[in-house]
């Protein structure tokens, strides 16, 4: 089976790219770095409502577009390319994924609210010391009351709804819980992130009112992680492509020694090697995105390939882009470092490339 995007998918990509180019140029994203929420609320609302991207792969019954994860990943790739700083990944992808895998009675309502953009959700699952194994979670729920601490929460300050993985003190099993962000007993601590365009926070819960959304076991959790990892990888590959484009563009205009630096093999070959690795990683990301819609036995394998390839190539692309720019590439005013920061941050989130190389072999059964 050969992989190609359909005309409709290409059209979607084009639409999103144009939207982001006009509404979220990097200069605007720079302004948002200093804003309270880190993004422009109107832009996010337009994405969700005008473009109808609030729940691309969510069921039509809940207001979603009923498309596949491939479409979701196309949008994320464009957002990665544009370094979009809004809560799309956290709310409209990861939270939607979480809500879609729960059978709790109230999830449909929550999902409808998130998809429609009436509510912004974010996931709170990682715990202190970057623990992200389900079995390690200490956050606990007791008869509708949740306590504990979660960290590495994306876009915390602007979220209306928190979706939390916690252990039930009663059943001793793990489940997902929903908490209104303005509930009593919640304490936000903003974290200083190396990635200036994605807000991180620690959130402490002290007997906060929580609604159980559904149980989550190891296999469900792994499936959720695969979805998250594939989403992130596709976003990363967009950033990598942008870094390559930026390097090539600069190399083609910058003149030293009477010639463009792009005519020198050192630069030329660096860009050619990078293109190859970007293309390889893209293939992994696209293949993985496609697999997420199918009960594919190899989903975890494909997710790990995608994350490993995307992690390595995005960091390398950003480093190469800085290098091609020379001194100017290391300045604050040059935009390259904003992608480099995103690359370094995404590289390690939910496992770096060596982690996923090992995981891939284990999933292969060797």
């Amino acid at each position: 089976m050969e992989f190609a995007f359909t005309d409709e998918q290409n059209q979607l990509r084009e639409t999103v790219a144009q939207f982001l180019e006009s509404r979220c140029p990097i200069a605007e994203t720079r302004n948002q770095i200093r804003s309270t929420n880190g993004h422009d609320q109107d832009v996010w609302r337009s994405l969700v409502r005008d473009l109808g991207l609030g729940g691309i792969h969510a069921p039509v019954e809940q207001g979603g577009a009923g498309l596949s994860y491939v479409e979701t990943c196309i949008v994320l790739e464009e957002m990665g390319r544009a370094l979009y700083s809004g809560p799309f990944l956290s709310s409209n992808v990861l939270s939607v994924n979480a809500l879609m895998c729960c059978e709790g009675a109230n999830t449909a309502t929550f999902l409808t609210d998130v998809v429609s953009g009436d509510s912004k959700a974010t996931l709170a699952f990682i715990e202190r010391n970057a623990k992200w194994n389900l079995q390690e979670f200490e956050c606990s729920a007791n008869n509708g009351s949740l306590s504990g601490e979660k960290t590495f929460v994306f876009d915390g300050p602007s979220a209306d709804l928190l979706i939390i993985a916690a252990r039930s003190n009663i059943s001793d099993r793990y489940g997902l819980y929903a908490v209104e962000a303005n509930s009593a007993g919640i304490d936000y601590v903003a974290l200083d992130s190396i990635d200036l365009t994605r807000r991180l926070s620690t959130i402490r819960f002290d007997s906060v009112k929580a609604i159980e959304l559904g149980a989550i076991d190891e296999s469900k959790y792994q499936a959720f992680l695969d979805l998250a990892v594939v989403a992130l990888a596709n976003e990363m590959i967009g950033g990598a492509q942008r870094m390559l484009d930026s390097a090539v563009e600069y190399a083609s205009t910058r003149v030293q020694f009477g010639r463009t630096i792009g005519s020198l093999q050192a630069i030329k070959h660096k860009c050619a090697e990078l293109l190859l690795d970007v293309e390889l990683a893209k293939s992994a990301c696209y293949r993985a995105a496609e697999a997420m819609d199918h009960e594919d036995l190899n989903r975890s394998q494909l997710a790990s390939i995608a994350k490993a390839m995307a992690s390595d190539v995005f960091v390398r692309a950003a480093l190469d882009c800085i290098q091609v720019h020379g001194g100017i590439g290391f300045t604050w005013e040059n935009d390259t470092h904003l992608w480099y920061r995103r690359a370094k941050s995404s590289e390690v989130y939910l496992g770096d490339s060596s982690f996923h190389r090992e995981r891939y072999l284990q999933e292969l059964g060797v």
């Binding site: 093999q265 070959h269 050619a272 293109l275 893209k282 293939s283 390939i305």
Partner: protein, 415 residues
């Protein structure tokens, strides 16, 4: 004859014809002649020249039907089809008359005489000279990396006929008879022990005037046609195994023909690193328990998977009508990196045993053969460095290297 082809008509016509003509116990030469006469051997070729003017998009239908019947096609091994396509595009009718049929029937074997010791990456730097003298062309010089030259009846020769014009303008393309005294073919042994190529020395070899292909000075353009078909053939290498449903004497004949010309390629899978063996080797040697090996193995498997998917994306893009361009260079570069990574992994999994070759070596010497063959992959068919130039300049649109060889070839610095 202008036929209004449709898929069903093609399928029906081919089926009918095969039902009437295919005989797995015919003599290969007789069958091939029948096939060539029918036009179904090279259906996209013009009716005037052994084809039926079939639109290229429908050719797969013909192949499917041949496959269904297990019917043998025209001779394809070696470089004979490159010769045929080149002559079809640039040859005289006399040349086409003389050569095309016997290429397709497999009666005559061809070789390609482009590369020289002094012009490797710089293919246009040929210094083998052809001079018109006494009603013939006299050829002197040396070619190298010539596959099957010792079997060949004819060669596609690129030679310099004018030294006073820029390098690309001074070459002419010829068909040369390889069975003559002025042509000396010597095997060229590689570091892995195989001798898959030849060196060919020309000492006052002769070419009749009517064996020049296209105009004098047009050699580079003609060679580009040959190379285009070579690249296409290389990209189409995978797949297409003939479905041999029935027994028949013709298969033996064909297998023999095929073996002769595919023999030089037996080590190519080793050159590509034999990724297929990696996991089993890691399990067999227990190096799968070593975490450094696991990381490199995983990296290899991922690279290999991603390269497959990338090739698949490229094929899909082609099917969507995007032209096949320099992306082939990306695939070639990927294969080179994968083979180098496989070299590393096979070394790690075999450990100290990888010091041994032949029967004493792991997998009866196969591992050693991999270690000794992989270095070729980043060189043969255009070095990695050349591929990167192509990718940067033609895919990414970066500025070309300034040229230092644009004057008359006589004055160009060379080896």
């Amino acid at each position: 004859m202008n036929v209004d082809w449709s898929e069903s008509k093609v399928r029906q016509d081919v089926r009918e014809w095969l039902r009437a003509n295919w005989n797995p116990n015919a003599k290969l030469i007789d069958w091939r002649n029948t096939l060539v006469d029918s036009g179904w051997g090279m259906p996209a070729w013009p009716s005037r020249w052994f084809g039926v003017d079939l639109p290229p998009g429908l050719v797969p239908v013909v192949l499917e039907e041949f496959n269904r019947f297990g019917a043998v096609g025209v001779a394809r091994t070696g470089i004979r089809l490159l010769a045929a396509e080149t002559l079809l595009a640039h040859g005289t009718d006399e040349q086409r008359e003389r050569f095309l049929r016997r290429i397709l029937t497999g009666e005559e074997i061809w070789c390609q005489l482009f590369s020289e010791p002094g012009s490797g990456s710089d293919l246009a730097g040929v210094t083998t000279r052809a001079e018109q003298q006494g009603g013939v062309w006299i050829v002197n010089g040396q070619k190298v990396w010539t596959t099957s030259a010792h079997h060949a009846d004819f060669g596609l020769l690129l030679a310099r006929t004018n030294w006073d014009v820029p390098k690309h303008q001074g070459m002419t393309y010829f068909v040369i008879d390889m069975r003559q005294g002025g042509v000396d073919v010597q095997p060229l042994r590689q570091m892995n022990g195989y001798a898959s190529f030849n060196q060919v020395f020309f000492t006052n070899a002769t070419i009749p005037l009517n064996m020049r292909v296209d105009d004098e000075g047009n050699g580079w353009r003609v060679a580009m046609t040959t190379l285009m078909y070579e690249r296409r053939a290389a990209n189409a290498l995978t797949g297409q195994g003939l479905n041999r449903r029935s027994d028949g004497s013709i298969y033996e004949e064909e297998a023999k023909e095929s073996a002769l010309l595919t023999e030089p390629y037996t080590w190519y899978p080793q050159r590509a690193g034999r990724v297929d063996l990696a996991v089993d080797r890691a399990l067999a040697t227990k190096s799968i328990e070593d975490h450094a090996t696991r990381q490199e193995l995983s990296r290899l498997l991922m690279m290999s998977k991603c390269a497959e998917w990338t090739a698949s994306r490229a094929r899909a893009a082609q099917q969507q009508g995007q032209s096949q361009g320099p992306e082939g260079s990306l695939g070639k570069l990927a294969n080179s990196q994968i083979a180098k990574q496989a070299l590393k992994v096979h070394t790690m999994t075999s450990g100290m045993e990888s010091m041994l070759a032949g029967e004493d070596g792991p997998l009866d010497g196969l591992i050693a053969e991999i270690l000794l063959s992989v270095p070729a992959i980043s060189i043969a068919g255009g070095t990695d460095e050349i591929q990167k130039n192509i990718i940067a300049e033609r895919v990414l649109g970066m500025e070309k290297e300034p040229r230092l060889d644009s004057g008359p070839f006589r004055d160009v610095r060379r080896n």
